[in-house]
Symmetry: C2
Subunit: 341 residues, 2 copies
């Protein structure tokens, strides 16, 4: 009973603070929300909530502000996910529909997400790790120079130039090409790599083995090349300008961190499970620069496997239900697009 009302008070405080950005007092609380009790009662509840660490006051005789712990409780127990409206869904779909390739999908998603949430959006490019091999092509530019092309299910294309020690004729090359494709196509790249490694050993001894060795090595290297893993797109940095207060002290390091993709990747990468939206609030993570921000992320990718992560970074004082809904919706649409493609 009392407990229920206390939670209601906490929820009201969070909602009010998020929308007004000002510490919220007992009077305003009972007026704006329909709690049928007097300000004094609310004050008592607030005293308890403060003692338990869910809210705090910036200074004596000011209203209350939610703490990280308060937001955490709000997100975990008080949030009811509000589905996107039909119009919003259509907007998302039409915004993403025009995409022509993988890069374009990522670019559009990140812009869309930043506009929907009015915050900084981050989208990680699909990881190689979970993608499958669609096709391998070997082209002899000259008898001793090979162009090795690796096409993946995500639409990514990796290519390598390979100098051979010996010359190779078109026939052995065709044979090798079909063997390689048989070993790799359709496999997740981890499996494809091990399958390929076994291939040279299965050949009849001879000069071809050396060529196969080189090709396999190149392919495996291209597969495990994680430069492309680490690519991310960021948009909406200008929304940081709405951090009216504490500008140089708080926005500056954030901007730096956003350009420093390495940190950002770690931050984003922590959310592993697909489907679930995860929320990291304030100082819950180890990253100094993000101690006054929250990060809302989810995995995405075709099928139920999460190829990569996407999400938004914003002030702890953010509209969690709305943001979570937007992140989830965009992730779903992008996943669907990757599925079809």
């Amino acid at each position: 009973m009392q407990n229920d009302r206390r939670l209601a008070v906490l929820r009201a405080i969070v909602e009010d603070y998020v929308s007004t950005e000002e510490p919220v007092g007992s009077r305003a609380l009972v007026e704006r929300h329909g709690l049928g009790v007097s300000p004094a009662t609310v004050r008592n509840d607030m005293a308890v909530l403060e003692e338990e660490g869910y809210i705090a006051q910036p200074h004596t005789s000011a209203g209350r502000v939610p703490t990280d712990k308060g937001y955490r409780l709000f997100v975990d127990r008080l949030t009811t996910v509000k589905p996107m409206s039909q119009a919003e869904k259509r907007a998302i779909a039409s915004f993403l529909d025009g995409a022509v390739d993988l890069d374009d999908v990522v670019q559009r998603s990140v812009r869309l997400l930043s506009q929907l949430t009015r915050q900084v959006a981050v989208v990680q490019y699909p990881t190689l790790a979970r993608s499958t091999v669609r096709h391998v092509e070997l082209v002899a530019l000259t008898p001793s120079r090979l162009l090795v092309v690796l096409i993946l299910s995500t639409g990514r294309v990796e290519q390598r130039l390979l100098e051979l020690a010996a010359e190779v004729d078109e026939e052995t090359l065709a044979d090798l090409r079909s063997r390689v494709n048989r070993a790799a196509v359709g496999e997740v790249i981890a499996d494809a790599a091990s399958g390929l490694r076994a291939l040279p050993g299965s050949l009849a001894p001879g000069p071809t083995v050396g060529v196969a060795d080189a090709v396999v090595e190149t392919l495996v290297e291209a597969m495990s090349d994680n430069r492309s893993d680490e690519r991310i797109a960021v948009a909406g940095a200008s929304n940081l300008a709405r951090y009216g207060d504490s500008f140089d002290t708080s926005v500056r390091p954030l901007l730096e961190a956003l350009e420093e993709h390495v940190v950002l990747l770690k931050l984003i990468g922590e959310a592993t499970s697909s489907g679930m939206v995860t929320v990291r609030i304030g100082a819950e993570g180890p990253y100094e620069q993000f101690s006054s921000t929250s990060v809302v992320t989810t995995g995405y990718g075709p099928g139920e496997a999460a190829l990569a992560t996407l999400g938004v970074v914003g002030p702890t004082r953010m509209d969690y239900p709305g943001t979570m809904a937007a992140v989830r919706a965009v992730a779903r649409y992008v996943s669907r697009m990757l599925d079809e493609a």
Copy 2:
């Protein structure tokens, strides 16, 4: 005489204001710089300079601040380019040396430039327009599916999948491949395109013409695909945080413009000539958002042709000699790298 001194006064005002960021008065001026005259004399000069529009005072009885016109004169006539120090040159070289491909060169350059100038750096990816064709490869994935690969002198690789109406055998393909390469390799892409268009007509009539037509069309389309023209890299946005004053009114629109690559491209693209460093000061350009910033740019590219543009965006109150030197130095090193590659 008087005129000479007046220019010296202007230069001193610019230099002082750039380093202190505060309106500079007559007393401070004679002390800090070795002008051998009294404050009163300087005041007279300042009165003239103000009348002519080179300086202004924020409010009565405050020091003077250079106007856009003042900076313009400073840049055009008072600036002595200070060459980079030996150590700086080494730093630039070693920073860029590790680059593995075109993307990497651009990424490294933009970071380097933002660090050298402590401002926002912008680097445009090399335009296709001026690059030459290095190699064209045609691969028959199946008898009726062709992979068309276009390799350009800048290192960029474009590839297209082509579905043929009819099947094509390896022999005609080899013939077509060599004809295409003979027509295109070594040419600037504009010339290559026209050369290629003439090719199908020169063939003996037959089914091959259709294939040649399709291949040529694909290649020309890939060459004129200007999506890659429009790519740019930006770094150092966090340096905007040092715009201490007028934050929400001035930084916000700037951040938005930086993400809006289209505007940025136009801004940057105005500098066409290679070798020369061009400076656009304050409201000299048509872009509202950049009316309180200056843009220092120069073209770069292998040889003397300017493939693309690179530069920095910063407050009108910036260290012009230093910035111009840095921009020029980076452009030279990048050009040299593209030359070698």
